[in-house]
């Protein structure tokens, strides 16, 4: 018989408490060591970076690579960061609107063909991006959007998965409130904007953060549709660094840290929502 225990000893206690923490800390080191190593290396001077075997820590830490990136006129990093910010925010705003609006209609209205329409949404969730990227590229060319930031916004204004998530949430909202508003003379759109939307904080936050991260890190689609250096987004700038400055390792490392930092900073505040969203997306 196990001694009775007020906190239920779960399976992890097979290893005992110290065993459990040992496993967790090994995992922690394996996760953080690669990040940590490029952070300390980005502070090394060029001479130190070339040293073999290298020292783990820089002897004379310097921010020279960071200042070069931020001040050199040939590196349009400010422009590229702006592009990423603009596109990410635009996509978040548009996705949140279209997803919640369509989700509201699917959740709260009855009309002919609804199941068929929703089936079409589910089918789109299953279609991988790589399968439609060629025709989407041809479409974008035909619309004259190639090598323009619009090419990153226009094709992704409606997110099937977002609609699906929002519908699930709105279905759980009580209909009485909407009926009451209707009796008071509210328009159908007014019910959406004034009754439904204000109650959707948490799911909108999750979807918004997820869309932001996805757009910020997206690489393949921008790679296909953008060519001008000034139009590049952050991941394309990084790749340009990786290929053009491969001899200048310090710059490449510092550039990747600079692009990771904003996301990590946002993440500190929103990690709970991200984890929720990741968990939900698995059980869609």
């Amino acid at each position: 018989m196990q001694p009775s225990n007020n906190k239920l000893p779960s399976a992890g206690f097979l290893l005992g408490k110290s065993g459990a923490y040992t496993v967790l800390i090994v995992g922690l080191v394996a996760t953080l060591l690669p990040f940590f190593y490029i952070i300390v290396s980005s502070l090394k001077t060029d001479a130190e970076l070339r040293k073999t075997p290298p020292d783990f820590f820089p002897q004379e830490p310097t921010f020279q690579h960071y200042t070069t990136i931020l001040t050199d006129d040939r590196i349009p990093i400010e422009r590229n960061v702006m592009n990423s910010v603009i596109i990410s925010l635009a996509r978040v705003a548009i996705t949140l609107f279209t997803s919640s609006y369509a989700g509201y209609i699917f959740a709260k209205y009855h009309f002919k063909g609804k199941n068929l329409a929703f089936g079409a949404i589910l089918i789109q969730i299953m279609i991988p991006f790589q399968v439609v990227m060629i025709p989407n590229y041809l479409l974008v060319v035909r619309f004259g959007l190639i090598d323009s930031l619009w090419a990153l916004i226009v094709p992704s204004m409606v997110d099937a998965f977002g609609i699906f998530l929002m519908k699930q949430f709105i279905e759980s909202l009580p209909a009485e409130l909407m009926d009451a508003a209707r009796i008071d003379g509210a328009s159908e759109f007014g019910i959406y904007s004034r009754i439904v939307l204000p109650q959707m904080g948490p799911p909108l936050a999750s979807l918004g953060i997820f869309t932001f991260m996805y757009t910020w890190n997206d690489y393949l689609w921008p790679l296909i549709v953008l060519t001008t250096p000034e139009k590049r987004t952050i991941p394309l700038l990084l790749v340009w660094f990786q290929t053009q400055h491969s001899s200048n390792l310090g710059l490449v490392l510092a550039a990747s840290i600079l692009t990771l930092l904003p996301i990590f900073f946002v993440y500190i505040f929103v990690q709970r929502w991200i984890v929720d969203q990741a968990t939900q997306s698995a059980f869609r």
Binding site: F13, T31, Q242, L253, A278
Partner: protein, 332 residues
């Protein structure tokens, strides 16, 4: 949150007439139709167009005749693209077949390695106090939110030949590190090229956070009463784990495995930038082939579309499996 496919085909109950209902229906249609049309333009039309193009010898730089440049200089070739891909001797076809093999090899390595890391870690993580749990989980999720391009740069540095951190670690424990991690085609362990192993490790490092949080959530959703009941019946910790936790986790593991396979088949960035498909096409994959044939070489869009259709069919089959698992009703 399971989706029941069968519910899609049930007859929708539509309330009878009435001015109010008619107004609501009109609102629903006028709102939804533009959204659906838009979606159709950028998803349903492209998938159809990709399918059509796969039966043509198509290149957007040629001016075809007729609808969407199909025909004329871009002639209909029937299933020739598919026959070429499966049996042809052209360079793209031969690389493609290798790429399919590599993609499956990659997936077959990623899935067990991922589960081997995430399952024990989730079990351990679930057992500790709330505060530390949140902390560790947040850290483990960091690589997942990182840009894949940054992940490539990090691992390129880790794998730097001779003096990269991994080489140094090998030397520190008395092992001889490989001369070159990513570019030596002759180093093969158990039939798996070293470059492929390197890509697998980097990908699992980036990706394990997803499955981890899913497994932790699944473990947390196992009702305490079940465990208490087992305890009252005299089960010890091991019995509780194998007889209560493992069976209840089975469905989640199955589902997560299918999702991991689906996402592994679509990995692009680290193949394109870390190993660059090489050495000697040892890390050439299906998605990389689609990209290269459509956008890098020769604008061989017809052939690339046929490749993307093959990818689509593979993923469709897996998605059907996923839905079947989701449909099995489960109650704790």
């Amino acid at each position: 949150m399971a989706v029941s496919i069968s519910s899609l085909f049930k007859k929708e109950v539509v309330g009878d007439g009435g001015k109010l209902m008619a107004g609501q229906r009109r609102f629903a249609y006028t709102s939804l139709v533009p959204i659906l049309l838009y979606m159709g333009l950028f998803t349903l039309f492209p998938i159809t167009f990709a399918m059509v193009m796969s039966f043509f010898s198509y290149s957007p730089i040629r001016d075809g005749s007729g609808f969407l440049d199909l025909g004329g200089a871009n002639p209909f070739v029937g299933v020739a693209n598919y026959i070429e891909l499966f049996t042809g001797t052209g360079k793209p076809a031969e690389v493609f077949r290798l790429a399919v093999k590599n993609t499956f090899l990659f997936t077959a390595l990623v899935l067990p390695l991922n589960l081997l890391v995430t399952l024990p870690l989730a079990v351990v993580l679930e057992s500790i106090g709330e505060r530390f749990k949140t902390f560790f989980r947040a850290i483990y999720f960091l690589p997942t939110i990182s840009s894949s391009v940054a992940v490539v740069i990090i691992w390129e540095y880790m794998y730097a030949p001779g003096w990269g951190l991994l080489s140094l670690m090998f030397k520190a424990v008395g092992l001889v590190p490989p001369k070159s991690w990513l570019s030596d085609p002759s180093t093969i362990y158990f039939g798996v090229p070293l470059a492929m192993i390197c890509v697998v490790v980097a990908h699992v490092w980036q990706d394990f956070g997803y499955n981890l949080v899913i497994f932790v959530a699944a473990l947390q959703s196992i009702p305490k009463t079940l465990r208490e009941a087992a305890r009252v019946d005299g089960a010890n910790v091991w019995q509780e784990f194998w007889l209560i936790v493992v069976p209840l986790l089975r469905r989640t593991v199955l589902l997560t495995s299918v999702l991991t396979v689906i996402s592994s088949l679509q990995v692009f960035v680290i193949f394109q930038l870390l190993s660059r498909g090489g050495p000697q096409n040892q890390t050439q994959t299906l998605v990389l082939s689609i990209y290269e044939n459509a956008f890098r070489f020769a604008n061989n869009v017809g052939l690339a579309s046929a490749m993307s259709m093959i990818l689509f069919i593979i993923i469709l089959i897996l998605t059907v499996v996923q839905f079947r698992i989701l449909r099995t009703e489960w109650e704790y």
